[in-house]
């Protein structure tokens, strides 16, 4: 399993197909570290043969640029459209990861994404989970796609 590469493939596919944005891909982090300063996080639960969570952490400027790209207009505040758009990024990345995990003979199910906006928050939990995170950079800044999971025995 090369989860870091799977996250890279899943994320770049979403950005090249839906947003026509090129991403500068950072090195995958396996374990702790690699956090970025974020103002919005979209999370999505994973079930089935694994239990876990996919999260997309974005600074405000990146989240607004992604939303503007989706909607074809300038976006200058963190509003419901931005929460919705980053939630959809998480949803589509998770959908691509579902296909990647099927290649490892692991069937996963996706929950509905949830987004939070804030200035200072921390997403924790999932003791004993493997964590793989990949930073991606756009002109407006760097965002992080983070996967935490445990394969059910």
């Amino acid at each position: 399993m090369n989860i870091g590469q799977d996250i890279i493939g899943a994320t770049t596919d979403v950005f090249s197909t839906m947003l026509m944005m090129d991403l500068v891909v950072g090195d995958p982090v396996d374990g702790a570290g690699g956090e970025v300063e974020s103002n919005i996080t979209a999370m999505l639960g994973l079930g089935g043969d694994i239990r876990g969570m996919l999260a997309v952490h974005c600074p405000a400027a990146v989240a607004m640029a992604i939303t503007g790209g989706f909607l074809g207009m300038d976006v200058d505040e963190l509003n419901e459209d931005v929460k919705d758009a980053i939630g959809e990024i998480a949803n589509m990345v998770a959908g691509n990861l579902k296909i990647a995990f099927a290649g490892y003979d692991l069937k996963i199910e996706l929950a509905i994404p949830t987004s939070i906006i804030g200035k200072s928050y921390r997403v924790g939990g999932m003791l004993g989970a493997r964590r793989v995170a990949v930073p991606f950079t756009l002109e407006q800044g760097t965002f992080l796609v983070e996967l935490k999971y445990i394969v059910n025995s």
Binding site: M18, F70, L71, E80, N91, M92, N96, K98, A102
Partner: protein
């Protein structure tokens, strides 16, 4: 004469993206109706004349599969074609959708060309 399209997705952003993709694909339409889940979609279909439905699968309240099941039981709407537009690509869930009357599926992420390729033959 264009088409009346119903977009069903709990994400308002995704509904806007799909609407934009239809326009970019050069698909003409008279009206785009929107619904945030299967329950709202059924309400729209009861009131409006709709030629084609594009529906997500994973939604709160009533998901895309339950929507298809309920729609199939209503004589006034059972023949309106539905395309699933979703991150779900598994043969099991897409197969279930097709067994309930869905005529095709578009995988998210998608381009306007992909939308046109799938929907084009079904639109006026």
């Amino acid at each position: 004469m264009g088409n009346n399209v119903l977009l069903v997705d709990d994400s308002s952003t995704m509904r806007k993206i799909v609407g934009r993709s239809l326009r970019q694909a050069g698909i003409e339409f008279d009206n785009i109706f929107e619904a945030a889940d299967g329950l709202q979609a059924l309400e729209v279909l009861e009131k409006e004349s709709v030629d084609i439905v594009l529906s997500d699968i994973n939604m709160p309240n009533m998901d895309g599969i339950a929507f298809l099941r309920e729609k199939a039981n209503r004589a006034n709407m059972k023949n309106i074609p539905v395309f699933m537009i979703s991150t779900e690509t598994g043969e099991d869930i897409i197969g279930e959708a097709k067994s309930l009357g869905a005529v095709g599926a578009i995988k998210k992420p998608f381009t306007p060309d992909m939308v046109n390729e799938v929907l084009g033959p079904f639109l006026k």
